[in-house]
């Protein structure tokens, strides 16, 4: 036998054998955890996928197609205004990148060929931390406060960390011969106000379709709640008009998509998911059969979906198994979690940020994991600390960063993120 080649399958088989040999089937804690995994996944499938994630994927896809990357990169080039560069770098992560595999080349590019260390670090931090999908899902699952704290925290963090890095390493010599950045050619230009309306309509659909029931049956929030589907429907009609007017979709196709959606909404008023689903399918079909931007939009949307959904699915299953749902424990004993990250002590916040910094979270999986941790007694402060340190850093991405900017700068960057996440966590925990 060729051991050099065959040892891998052997090790895998042995490992699987041992897992099943000792599998504690029948143990009530283990059985409960398995059930919890499925319950949590079912809850995500029912509550979050269709109304929240699907529109969010369409928005992320639209951002990738309709916001010109050229116009953003202009502010991060070597001749860019430094102050402006920090501002743009801190928010452009939400526009340019969804996963760290696209963030790293951009980071290396801004550092080596563009605006330099500070803005590059600002971008590196904000890229994975404030992407649209992550903020939307955080706000939806973990609560609006934590969602907003995450977005605002990430933007402020990225600017402060970028400035501090530039301050610590001021005489950062860049390569003398700067390579010119190659920027993708523009195809079409749409006026800013059209893009603005287009994105506003989609955001309105996302927000109102997910409008939660309020505790009281009166007042403005309840009024909005009772009209949420009407508002969502009007916004959807607005999107239909935009498709015809600006995206050159043929009128009869749009009508063919709108009519079934409308009929289903009237036929099943108690179950808006049916009509919503029909609308999504109709939209996908008509933009698929329209050449150009519209088709590109669907392709990007599908690309994100393909990239993120499988990982999220496994992330939810594993989080459900390990941590359970709020109120129901998983395989990990609750007191472990409440002991290490419960309350709002310095230790809890520090532990959460260090653990977050080294752990690798696939895009969006930090949300179910945190939900489980919080359900088992993790404090709000440590939760925010983990959100601020977690997605931006992981062991694999530290290694890549090291190869770009060296040991010393990487060490300082990681320490800055951990220290600031800890402090911010403590402040947030004390306030809420």
């Amino acid at each position: 036998m060729k051991w050099k080649r065959e040892w891998k399958p052997l090790v895998i088989f042995t490992a699987i054998f041992l897992v099943f040999f000792y599998l504690p089937v029948g143990n009530s804690r283990f059985n409960d955890s398995i059930i919890e995994a499925f319950r949590l996944t079912k809850w995500y499938a029912r509550e979050h996928i269709l109304l929240c994630l699907v529109p969010a994927f369409f928005i992320a896809g639209a951002i990738a197609v309709f916001i010109s990357q050229e116009s953003v990169m202009k502010y991060l080039g070597s001749k860019a205004n430094k102050i402006l560069a920090y501002g743009v770098a801190s928010v452009s992560g939400s526009i340019l990148a969804v996963c760290s595999c696209t963030v790293l080349p951009l980071f290396a590019g801004i550092y080596k060929m563009g605006a330099g260390l500070g803005p590059a670090v600002a971008f590196l931090y904000s890229g994975p931390a404030i992407n649209v999908l992550a903020i939307i899902l955080t706000a939806r699952v973990l609560g609006l406060k934590l969602g907003i704290a995450r977005a605002v925290g990430a933007i402020l963090f990225s600017i402060i960390i970028g400035l501090l890095m530039q301050m610590f390493f001021p005489d950062n010599k860049q390569d003398e011969e700067k390579q010119a950045i190659v920027i993708p050619a523009e195809s079409t230009h749409r006026p800013l106000w059209q893009n603005g309306i287009y994105f506003a309509v989609m955001v309105i659909i996302l927000i109102f379709a997910n409008w939660g029931e309020s505790d009281r049956v009166a007042g403005i929030w309840y009024a909005i709640y009772s009209y949420k589907w009407l508002i969502t429907g009007v916004a959807a009609l607005g999107l239909a008009v935009i498709l015809v007017k600006w995206m050159k979709v043929v009128l009869w196709k749009v009508i063919a998509a709108v009519v079934p959606t409308f009929v289903l909404a009237l036929a099943f008023p108690q179950n808006p998911l049916i009509s919503f689903g029909a609308g999504v399918i109709g939209l996908s079909l008509i933009i698929n059969s329209t050449k150009g931007e519209a088709n590109n939009w669907l392709e990007q949307t599908w690309g994100f979906t393909k990239q993120i959904l499988p990982l999220l699915f496994f992330g939810v299953l594993v989080a459900g198994f390990l941590l359970g749902r709020p109120g129901h424990g998983g395989i990990i004993p609750s007191h472990w979690i409440s002991n290490s990250v419960g309350g709002n002590s310095l230790g809890a916040n520090l532990f959460a940020s260090v653990a977050g910094a080294f752990m690798y979270f696939a895009t969006l999986t930090e949300v179910p994991i945190l939900q489980g941790l919080m359900g088992n007694g993790m404090g709000k402060g440590p939760a925010l600390a983990l959100l601020l340190a977690g997605p931006a850093l992981s062991l694999p991405n530290m290694l890549v960063i090291r190869s770009v900017m060296g040991n010393k700068k990487t060490f300082v960057y990681v320490s800055l993120v951990v220290v600031m996440a800890t402090i911010t966590g403590m402040i947030f925990g004390a306030m809420f």
């Binding site: 990357q69 990169m73 996963c99 595999c101 696209t102 790293l104 080349p105 951009l106 290396a108 590019g109 801004i110 080596k112 060929m113 563009g114 390579q179 010119a180 950045i181 190659v182 920027i183 993708p184 690309g303 393909k306 990239q307 890549v400 190869s403 770009v404």
Partner: protein, 79 residues
């Protein structure tokens, strides 16, 4: 002989571009070498910040895009 290089960090879109390019080369019966470069330092040398990218004879042709096989055939044919 043309030298075609795909720049990518190993994401799925990069693999798509690699596949499509190989198909296009095969369809056109071109005598080309398709190579993949995934080292970040190397990618920077081309001035590319958005992956995947397509380089033909040291000239960057595409950045951050995955065209279909047909579109790639057009690009290769014009070279």
């Amino acid at each position: 002989m043309k030298k075609i290089i795909i720049l990518g960090t190993g994401c799925s879109r990069c693999n798509d571009l690699m596949e499509n390019t190989e198909k296009a080369v095969k369809n056109l019966n071109l005598d080309c070498e398709v190579e993949k470069v995934s080292d970040l330092q190397q990618i920077m040398k081309y001035g590319v910040m958005m992956v995947p990218a397509l380089v033909i004879d040291d000239e960057v042709k595409l950045v951050g895009k995955v065209p279909s096989v047909e579109e790639l055939k057009d690009i290769l044919f014009n070279e």
